[in-house]
């Protein structure tokens, strides 16, 4: 890793923003743990020192819900991206290594999945989920593994055919050594870039589902769901809507800024 100060300012800004969101998602639920308690007498209460964002239409603490929603988005999206990357890389290396039938079948499957925009896969799974985490998680991970598969397969094929790997094989090193010494160092940097991109996609998909109303179900707080719930009360309490919008936009902006912006400067 290059030190933070030697990076371009957009990337530094990205790290700072991401750190702020992470801090909020990790520390927020500890500071304001009660996201579900309703106090109907205090509905749409204006912001105060104890409740920086006021209370919502059911008298629930908005900041507690927001922190809990941010934590949910981040860990669920992170889990999905990690699983998708793991699955994609394993299958990609397998496909490049074995060739033949394995390669043909896996590539056909990947082509088929590619013809289905990710959100559609997630939508079908959300019909099965009925608000459950597990099915949403499987859907999100299955929607993303193909990118990793294609990248790993394409790179690994080139690498596995290279003289370095041939030499390693002739020296008697096994698959584990070849993967660790030859494939991993080449694949890792690209994987990191793809994962920051995938994280944004997963967070976005999750909040989109919540917003449309087919993702995480109430009373669980979720960013998109909070926006839908806040919409009717916009004129009385705009902070109800603007707070989750700000958290989502800042998270996505941070992840966009992390990547190098100039494709060819």
């Amino acid at each position: 890793m290059t030190p933070l100060t030697s990076r371009a300012w957009p990337q530094r800004l990205g790290y700072v923003l991401l750190a702020a969101v992470l801090l909020f998602a990790l520390a927020g639920p500890l500071l304001w743990p009660d996201y579900a308690g309703q106090q109907l007498m205090r509905f749409l209460e204006t912001p105060s020192l104890a409740e920086p964002l006021g209370r919502d239409q059911l008298g629930r603490s908005v900041i507690a819900r927001l922190a809990s929603a941010a934590r949910l988005s981040l860990w669920l999206a992170g889990l999905c991206v990690l699983s998708a990357a793991l699955l994609g890389c394993l299958l990609g290396v397998l496909s490049a290594w074995r060739g033949g039938w394995t390669d043909t079948v896996l590539r056909g499957l990947a082509d088929g999945v590619l013809a289905l925009p990710g959100l559609l896969i997630v939508l079908i799974f959300s019909a099965m989920a009925q608000g459950g985490f597990l099915t949403l998680y499987i859907g999100l991970a299955l929607a993303q593994w193909v990118e990793y598969f294609r990248m790993t397969r394409a790179r690994s094929r080139l690498l596995l055919a290279s003289p370095h790997v041939e030499a390693s094989r002739l020296l008697g090193f096994g698959p584990a050594h070849i993967v660790r010494r030859h494939l991993w160092p080449e694949l890792a940097p690209m994987l990191l870039t793809m994962m920051s991109f995938g994280l944004a996609t997963a967070i976005l998909a999750l909040s989109t589902l919540g917003f449309v109303g087919v993702g995480i179900q109430p009373p669980m707080p979720e960013l998109g769901l909070m926006m839908t719930e806040a919409l009717p009360h916009y004129s009385e309490a705009p902070q109800l809507l603007l707070a989750p919008v700000a958290v989502l936009a800042l998270t996505l902006a941070a992840l966009v800024l992390l990547r190098p912006l100039e494709v060819n400067p």
Binding site: G112, A115, L116, L204, V212, L231, A253, N264
Partner: protein
Amino acid sequence: MDRARQRALARICGQRLLQAAIVSLLVAALCFLLVQQLPGDMAFRIAAGRYGYDYVDAAAADAVRQELGLARPAWQQFAGWLGQLAQLQLGQSLVSGGAVLAEIAHHLGATLQLAAASVALALGVGLPLGLASGLAPGGWADRLTLGYSVLLRALPPFLLGLMLILALSVQLGWAPAAGHGEGGNLLLPALTLGLGLSGLTARIVRDSVLAVVRADYYRFARSKGLAPWRVFLRHGLRNIGVTVVAYAGVQLILLIEGVVVVESLFAWPGVGHALVHAIFWRDVPMIQGCTLLLAWLFVLMNTATDLLCLAIDPRGPAES
């Protein structure tokens, strides 16, 4: 048309057909899985649908089970499911009772209208921005485009739509927030989807213009004394076009996903709206029909992209 060209054409069509077949199989499998894990006894439900809830007993459910072969092992049922799909029998909507095929055909027009309007808008905004920034990298237009595209990347379609509703509809009252059939109704959904796409379009155009302008053949054409606009028309346009069209495939994903989100946000009666509502009601035949249609539309547009690339660049795509 020469031999190589024909072969490239056949390869593209063959690959895309295969892709369409695989994706149909995938969607069918997912929807079959969805039916299998729905709670309750399917035979009872179908019997209730036929005879009314008051007249169903175990005997009627058993009769239905026998008739439809619901007691068969899952793989045999799946084969039957695929057989129906192969004959394009998409079944009936569980909610409205209408044939899925007719319902989707009804929604398709609205979706295509929205998609065409947004793509036109995205090109109208993205092309000039991308050209201006690609021809003068580092200039003010370039910085503006960079900021614009980052901003739009951080603003997912539904947030952008929300902001447009709040700004144009609630505060200014310029356009209706939802609905269909009147003149102004298309404005907000098309603006949401089109602006969302235009950021990426501008970036792609900018990068491909820059790559061409910096290429040796382009610099040579300039240095042999051709006028800048002539160099651009003669050597630039086609080479830029092929990259931009090739990247349109990536944008199509955004377009299809955007259609689903934007339609449900603005209650635009298209396929995406129908899909989300089918998911609300667990209306599996509708879910399958809408997903299949969107997937086929996606494959079809990708095929068109490939063919267009081939037409622009007769050398064909570089073999990877």
